[in-house]
């Protein structure tokens, strides 16, 4: 019956392609499977049963399931930078060249030295973290934590940058169907035939769900063929898309669903231009959850031995993959599904030694199947213990007459009943409710627009699945305005026509010997739950935290309900009173890459470049990030340090002329009859008298009275102003103004438009700047000192192109800012530099800019820090008393007017050679440098080429009255200290003569 190369592969049957062998490796061993296999089915076909070690005790583990719920068979998939830990072998689609490695073992899977953890397990039982490592504290970091990190854990993350790409996409539909089993297919077909836009998401790579692992028939064809036929019909519908390999992972407000599409995980590498994963945001008006059900394990001694499997999964391996998961089986169940399991095992030629039905008296259906296949029937009996180390050898059965019997077998097919897969129903805080008749948690309140169909409703009967799917699909389409007829299919499931006895819950076997696992992945046993209750952590949410139950990557898919069952037994209550578990997104693990999409590395956020970036790059600029912008920081010449470059640039500006790209400054175009009135309310200083052709420095407060931003606003007419903001605050100021315009004073007729990116802007500064500009600005414009004085603005042309010229200065020199539509920015800068050659002009960056503004005592980011008032910055006199403006009232609060508040001062180190750094704290001389004596700090500092020494700005308590005093500038972070003298913040040209030159 079995093929030679794959000793457990059946000669016929299943959905694998025996003509398409695939080579793969597990722990370095070369193995062959077939197209259509998962890694798990291929391993089982080859007799590989030991695939991993457990999280805490390093117990040998095999394959429990055939689906997403798998807690044991976790492997590292791929190698090198593509290595992904904790990949479930049961859903990993086999491809040629697949490389998988077992996890959490050392030095090898068969010989794991840390399995000694098993023998000292009494020391690492539930809650051991809390009890064992209480003291001494220093031991935690140095000894316990590294020890635990080595001993516990699962796979390793990739060692290098992920070479794959990830995408995000959005889709819209009328009806979203979640799950591609009989109910999901029925729903999608019923809705699709009405013409509604339908998306069917199925996590599997073949449509059919439970039909694939069963021997069902629908309308005279096999369930598999029916699924294929329906898939063909769906594919032909233009408004329907079937998304295979796509897991819906979360439900969000407003009919939004998250889904991960595994575009390339089944391929050796993503194809060119294809991502590895695509994260979908699906917006659906109606949704149908048809996610099926997950089988429950039973807790008996050593129930984690490789060879102990879920019964439905055993059937799936036989029917779907053509693999016998063992040679000699025992069935242990509390429900009638055992009959179908028996039939399938017998048909596959696997001997069934015994059927153990935990229900008192068993059931007719199961007994009949046992008689049919000559298996020993143990009704009202329990499997108490499994034997065998790396693989199951035998089980111990406690019969109904209290006899212990040992039965040899290499496969135990167990079934504790089924948990409907209702996780998504509770993502919007719906609480599942316990249904006594179904002996299962069923959906409570549902997310708006969602209905449930198929086995997820608690009724897995094939006809019920088909009927509920069709009815829900049609109803959902109806809700969206479509109409059609209700389809009908007649199915025959494997248990049909037999009498049924209901499932009788069995969470743990009384009298079990050895560790009886509830949560395989977190290594939580029934004893751990007992212990947790004994120690006072008996509530479900406490048990979870005390034992880590349900907290592994499988999120307790096979354990959460069982734990509640055990708790109910201990408490002697029913399930309903144990409450319920809360399911949260994601339903299955989602790679971080999928959530990040393209937003990583340099694409983490958009990078904004000045229009003149190309020229600046040619000129050798070193760029610095300023928010999302890249700004030229300095332009080094050969052999220069950054400070030497900045110093040269300052001297060139102050001695002749320099040009700085200030395109990044925020620019807000303000137009309308009420433009001036609006600006008056936004700035704290007076703009009523600002004439067309003039500019004014403005200071803006937040409503709480602190300074928000500053900048120059130009007036072109009574109804047209252009405001500039600092680079960093441009978006904040825009939003601040939009809020006040639309929400506070909607009656003002004014329009605000951000034109930051529409204009390139350059500061041309230095005593020769006017001469330079005369050569660039078209001749007809008069920019002579007298006709175009300080704070003048004008529309001008440059080579016929409209530009704006403003005589403003941040450097303290005679200076202009010239703005031109962005597309001419690069050309204008080239032209300015060409014409400036005769004047020895240089480009200067943000370093030189910062030095010159500190020399002039102008405030910037260090001082405009959100904690300073206008008065703190020495700008208190700007606050108008004649008008209302944002921040006026709350700036009058006593604490904001306290004369002892830290205010802006200049600081000069007494020792000319010593440096003061921003961040150093100011302490009165003779005082101890501690928090109590802290009187302020240094906000900005620079080496001043003009003064030949370091200078600084700072905020110092009562700073206005302390000129001449010497204080300590203490920088404990860098271990430096210097004495500094308080002075005026205007270090250079305090009278401002140079501005008017």
């Amino acid at each position: 019956m079995m093929t030679e190369k794959q000793p457990f592969r059946l000669a016929t049957g299943g959905l694998v392609d025996r003509a398409a062998p695939l080579n793969f490796s597990f722990d370095g061993r070369a193995i062959t499977g077939f197209a259509g296999d998962t890694l798990a089915s291929a391993l089982l076909a080859n007799g590989v049963r030991l695939v991993g070690r457990s999280f805490k005790y390093h117990r040998p583990r095999g394959i429990l399931s055939a689906g997403v719920e798998e807690p044991n068979a976790l492997v590292e998939h791929r190698s090198g930078s593509r290595r992904e830990p904790n990949s479930r072998a049961t859903v990993l689609e086999l491809y040629d060249g697949l490389v998988a490695t077992s996890q959490n073992r050392w030095p090898s899977l068969r010989c794991d030295l840390l399995s000694v953890n098993s023998w000292v397990s009494s020391f690492i039982a539930a809650g051991f973290y809390y009890k064992t490592f209480m003291w001494p504290a220093s031991f935690w970091e140095r000894i316990y934590e590294p020890m635990i990190r080595r001993a516990a854990g699962l796979g390793r993350t990739a060692p290098a940058h992920d070479p794959d790409t990830y995408e995000k996409a959005t889709a819209f539909c009328d009806v979203l169907v979640i799950g591609g089993g009989p109910a999901g297919i029925a729903a999608a077909v019923a809705a699709g035939r009405t013409g509604a836009r339908v998306i069917l998401c199925d996590e599997d790579f073949v449509l059919g769900g439970g039909l694939l692992g069963d021997k069902a028939e629908i309308d005279g064809e096999s369930g598999v063929d029916w699924a294929r036929t329906m898939a063909g019909e769906l594919a032909a519908m233009p408004e329907v898309s079937v998304m295979g390999r796509t897991s819906v992972t979360g439900v969000y407000d407003g009919g939004v669903f998250g889904a991960v599409q595994r575009v390339s995980d089944h391929l050796p590498e993503p194809p060119v231009h294809q991502p590895r994963l695509r994260f979908w945001r699906i917006v659906a008006r109606r949704s149908i959850l048809a996610a099926g059900a997950i089988e429950r394990p039973i807790a008996f001694g050593n129930n984690d031995r490789p060879g102990v499997m879920l019964a439905g999964s055993v059937r799936t391996y036989i029917n779907r993959y053509g693999v016998a998961p063992g040679r000699r089986a025992v069935i242990f169940a509390n429900n009638d599904g055992a009959a179908g399991t028996l039939d399938d095992l017998a048909a596959a030629g696997v001997g069934v030694a015994a059927v153990v039905d935990s229900r008192d008296g068993g059931s007719a259906a199961v007994s009949a199947a046992a008689a049919r296949h000559g298996a020993v029937m143990h009704a009202g009996a329990m499997v108490t213990q499994a034997h065998g180390g790396h693989g199951l050898r035998s089980v111990e059965v406690l019969t109904s007459d209290r006899q212990r019997e040992r039965i040899s077998c290499d496969l135990l097919a167990m079934s504790g009943g089924w948990n409907p897969t209702i996780h998504l129903t509770s993502h919007l805080s719906g609480r599942p409710r316990w249904d006594e008749a179904a002996a299962a948690f069923l959906p409570g309140s549902l997310p708006p627009g969602m209905t449930v169909a198929g086995a997820a409703t608690g009724n897995a009967d094939l006809n019920a699945c088909l009927a509920s799917g069709a009815a829900n699909g049609l109803a959902a389409a109806h809700d969206c305005g479509f109409s059609g007829r209700l389809p009908f299919w007649r199915g025959y499931g494997s248990g049909d026509g037999q009498s049924h006895r209901p499932v009788q819950p069995l969470w743990r076997v009384p009298g079990a010997r050895g560790k009886a696992f509830i949560d395989f992945q977190s290594d939580v046993t029934t004893d751990d739950i007992d212990l947790s209750v004994r120690e006072g952590f008996g509530a479900a949410e406490h048990v979870k935290r005390y034992t880590a139950l349900g907290m592994a990557t499988d999120q307790g898919k096979t354990s959460n309900v069982a734990a509640l069952g055990v708790l109910a037994e201990i408490a002697g209550t029913d399930m309903a009173s144990q409450g319920t578990t809360t399911f949260r997104p994601p339903y299955t693990p989602v790679a971080i890459g999928a959530l990040a999409g393209h937003a990583r590395g340099m694409d983490f956020h958009p990078r904004r470049l000045s229009p003149a970036h190309p020229f600046e790059t040619e000129q050798g600029a070193v760029f610095v990030e300023a928010g999302a912008w890249l700004r030229a920081q300095y332009y080094p010449r050969p052999g220069e340090t950054w400070l030497q470059s900045a110093e040269r640039e300052v001297r060139t500006v102050r001695g002749g002329a320099g040009i700085c790209d200030v395109s990044t400054l925020g620019k807000i175009d303000i137009q309308g009859p009420d433009a001036r009135a609006f600006i008056e309310r936004i700035y704290c200083n007076n703009f009523a008298g600002l004439q067309p052709g003039r500019a004014r420095y403005g200071l803006m407060l937040r409503e709480d009275g602190f300074v928000l931003d500053d900048g120059v606003t130009m007036c072109f007419s009574d109804t047209h102003f252009v405001m500039s903001t600092t680079t960093a605050n441009a978006p904040v100021v825009m939003q601040h103004m939009e809020f006040h315009h639309q929400c506070v004073w909607p009656e003002l007729d004014v329009q605000l438009t951000s034109v930051t990116e529409q204009w390139a802007q350059f500061s041309v500064a230095g005593p020769l700047s006017r001469e330079l500009l005369r050569r660039v600005v078209d001749r007809q414009h008069d920019i002579a000192n007298e006709s175009f004085p300080f704070m003048s603005v004008a529309q001008v042309t440059v080579a016929g192109v409209t530009a704006r010229l403003a005589r403003v200065s941040f450097s303290g020199e005679l200076a202009y800012e010239i703005a031109i539509p962005a597309q001419y920015g690069d050309s204008l800068l080239r032209e300015l530099m060409r014409q400036g050659e005769a004047f020895g002009v240089c480009l200067y960056g943000t370093e030189a800019l910062a030095i010159m503004r500190i020399e002039k005592g102008h405030v910037a980011g260090g001082e405009l820090n959100g904690h300073t008032t206008a008065a703190d910055l020495g700008l208190g006199k700007m606050m108008s008393a004649k008008k209302d403006y944002v921040g006026r009232i709350l700036a009058q609060r006593p604490a904001l007017r306290d004369p002892e508040r830290p205010t802006l001062v200049g600081l000069l180190p007494l020792d000319h050679g010593s440096q003061v750094r921003a961040g150093a704290h100011l302490v009165a001389s003779g005082q101890v440098a501690n928090l109590e004596n802290d009187e302020g700090y240094v906000t900005s500092s620079a080496y001043s080429p003009m003064l030949g020494r370091w200078i600084a700005l700072g905020l110092l308590a009562s700073g206005n009255n302390r000129t001449g005093e010497v204080v300590r500038a203490c920088d404990p972070l860098r271990g430096t200290e210097s004495l500094v003298e308080i002075c005026s913040p205007q270090f250079y040209d305090p009278t401002g003569e140079r501005l008017h030159g």
């Binding site: 939004v256 809020f739 929400c743 006026r888 609060r893």
Partner: protein
């Protein structure tokens, strides 16, 4: 969450930015108790379990400020109007 912008139609919450309580109105700065009123305007907020009127801006869309009536327990949105169009109290 999805918000129906009166100008752009229904859009995902990721296009919007949240400000908070839209029931507060900037007080008269010339009133006798202006300081007290402004402190309330800026800092005092009700925290209703249920329907709440709040400001959202369609920041990555048309930039309209909106007044959204939303149940903060269920995130169900009852109404959306442009802030500049809402009827003065």
């Amino acid at each position: 969450m999805r918000i129906h912008c009166p100008y752009c139609g229904e859009r995902g919450v990721e296009e919007y930015s949240y400000r908070g309580d839209a029931t507060v109105r900037r007080p008269d700065a010339n009133g006798p108790d202006a300081l007290e009123r402004f402190v309330e305007y800026l800092h005092l907020r009700d925290n209703p379990a249920g329907s709440h009127q709040e400001f959202w801006q369609h920041l990555h869309g048309c930039r309209a400020w909106l007044v959204v009536q939303r149940d903060v327990r269920t995130h169900a949105i009852e109404s959306v109007v442009a802030a500049s169009r809402r009827v003065a109290r």
